[in-house]
Amino acid sequence: MSHDAALGVPAHDAATAPGGPTSERPAPRRRRTPAAPYVLLVPAVLALLAGLAYPVGRQIVMSVQKFGLEQQFGQPPELVGFANFARVFTDDALWAVVIRSVVFCLVNAGLTVVIGFAFALLMRAVHSSVRIVLQVSLLLAWAMPMVAGVTVFKWLFDYRTGVVNWLLVKIGFTGMEGYSWLSKPFTFFLVATLVIVWMSVPFVALSIYAGLTAVPDEVLEAARIDGATGTQQLRHILFPMVRPVLSIVLLLQIIWDLRVFAQIRLLQDAGAPVSDTNLLGNFIYELGMSRQDFGGAAAVSIFVLLLTVLLSWPYVRSLMKEDA
């Protein structure tokens, strides 16, 4: 890189229209692109290449290779084309996991957004002292490290001395004495849903609440004077005004809940039937780490990555608008 190029003139020198340095197009008179930004990007790009891009490439190669018994003894893997994809995607076990993951994801994302929206409305409706109590409580739940949070829920739902079973017995469900929540798939996913919703609601509630504070009180006051009921205010004023935030958090929640892995893995430690409680991430882990079927695991991983990119598109587009 030549010396003067490293001192390349930043874009804000090119034009002096108001609106900040990044809101302008480069001036037409500068034909040579400065080298400085490229130099500055080198470390970040190298890190991304080493940590993410190379694994993605390797994954694509792995997905068309065969990893059998011979490969565990050091033989180089042989190319098998799309055999891995064909094998994995004609397996009913995968589709059971896919359906389970999608249902789990939609239920969790839906519940999280509904409860988060309710919390946001509540925060707007109550006195500021109650609101602060609510916000502190939400922040505590949000700040909990995931592993610690799941561990606490395992303790809450412990079959012998957990406080949930104690409470249920106390209020009359005597059949719940010693009930083992995590050993049956349905109650296992119930607990998993509770953990995930508990951890995810704070982000959703506080984001939507931030959107709600942008609605001026005068607007609602005017609607009230015009005779609008609470439901009508919610439906015709508050809801349309927070819809952009609402759709973004719902989308993010769907993307995040589709990739749930660690919570399930940690809950499975308590003795759950693994094959009945696996979600997509856990299925990949089983396939790759336990069964050493790296080709199959890579094929499923590529499916997950493509799905994520597809789902992320609207979110990325909304962020790009901000970058203009």
């Binding site: 500055l40 993410l52 409580s137 959107g211 990325v316």
Partner: protein, 308 residues
């Protein structure tokens, strides 16, 4: 029913009745509204208690002697507080070695991420260059990629260069995973410092480097702190990548250690007091740091939606 009518016509479609009803119902309506506010306040406090309960229960159990935790009737107040559980956790020395591992990886990640992402943010917010849009697009997509869709390939990569169970291997993966969002976050901070400030300093006789170091850099400090805390939280809490990249017992980070601590304890009837003490020890730095950075993270994630 005019519920389907759009908002703007709600007032004009039935002006007489609306005005009349407001005048008549004003006093009782206000009273009802006050009752409603009290009820909603009670609901809010209840919701706050329910949501904070798991955290309270963790800390309470951490200070409760094992004998009381084994009893069939739980205690909801710290009547017999003891630090014995914490002593039990720290005893074996396995916590300390996991702590050392976690601290090393986390601090390395924070330093690398801050340096690399800061330079990257500088590039995309101060220059318009060919490939900039593609880079920003790539960064935004990369930050959405799930670890669960990559960790098998990352495991194979690390094992082929003999970097499993090493600090370096995990740090490279963490750095790459955290950089995209940090670039995005810092970009906002850098764009917030007007370049004119720097130019004014240069007019006054500073070189570009001096102007940057003395004017822009100090103004970016809050952004760097927020990004550093974000990177810290990501690396400190990470479980999925660590699970495949640090397979052996001797090189565990704290989240992996906590999982094993619980499993090991399960064989002889879980000692929940110690497990909760361990969870508390891991959670405390996170909760403290989190309160610092929280506001910035919410706005960073959804600001596109708010503005667009």
């Amino acid at each position: 029913m005019s519920a389907v009518a759009p908002t703007r016509s709600a007032g004009s479609s039935r002006p007489a009745t609306a005005a009349g009803s407001v005048r008549r119902q004003h006093a009782p309506g206000a009273g009802r509204r006050r009752t409603r506010k009290v009820l909603l306040g009670a609901l809010g406090v209840l919701a706050a208690l329910v949501w904070a309960f798991p955290v309270y229960w963790m800390v309470l159990s951490a200070f409760t002697p094992a004998a009381y935790l084994r009893s069939t009737t739980p205690e909801f107040l710290p009547l017999h507080a003891t630090a014995a559980n914490f002593r039990g956790v720290l005893e074996g020395g396995s916590f300390t070695s996991a702590l050392k591992m976690s601290l090393t990886i986390t601090l390395l990640t924070v330093v690398l991420v801050l340096a690399f992402a800061f330079l990257g943010a500088l590039a995309i917010s101060r220059w318009r260059f060919r490939g900039r849009t593609s880079f920003v697009l790539a960064v935004l997509f990369i930050q959405m990629l799930p670890a669960e869709g990559l960790f098998i390939a990352q495991y194979k990569m690390l094992s082929s260069v003999h970097l499993l169970d090493s600090v370096i291997g995990v740090t490279v993966l963490y750095t790459a995973a955290v950089i995209p969002f940090t670039i995005w976050m810092l970009r906002g901070f850098v764009a917030g410092v007007p370049a004119e400030l720097e130019e004014a300093a240069m007019v006054d006789g500073l070189s570009r480097t001096q102007a940057f170091l003395r004017i822009t850099f100090p103004l970016l400090a809050p952004g760097l702190v927020a990004s550093g805390v974000y990177a810290f939280l990501q690396a400190w809490n990470e479980f999925t990548v660590a699970l495949v990249a640090l397979p052996s017992q001797s090189s565990q980070t704290l989240p992996l250690w906590l999982r094993n601590f619980l499993s090991a304890s399960a064989n002889r009837g879980v000692d929940w007091g110690q497990v909760m003490a361990a969870s508390t020890l891991i959670a405390i730095p996170v909760i403290v740091f989190f309160l610092f950075v929280q506001g910035r993270m919410t706005s960073g994630l959804v600001s596109g939606a708010v503005k667009g």
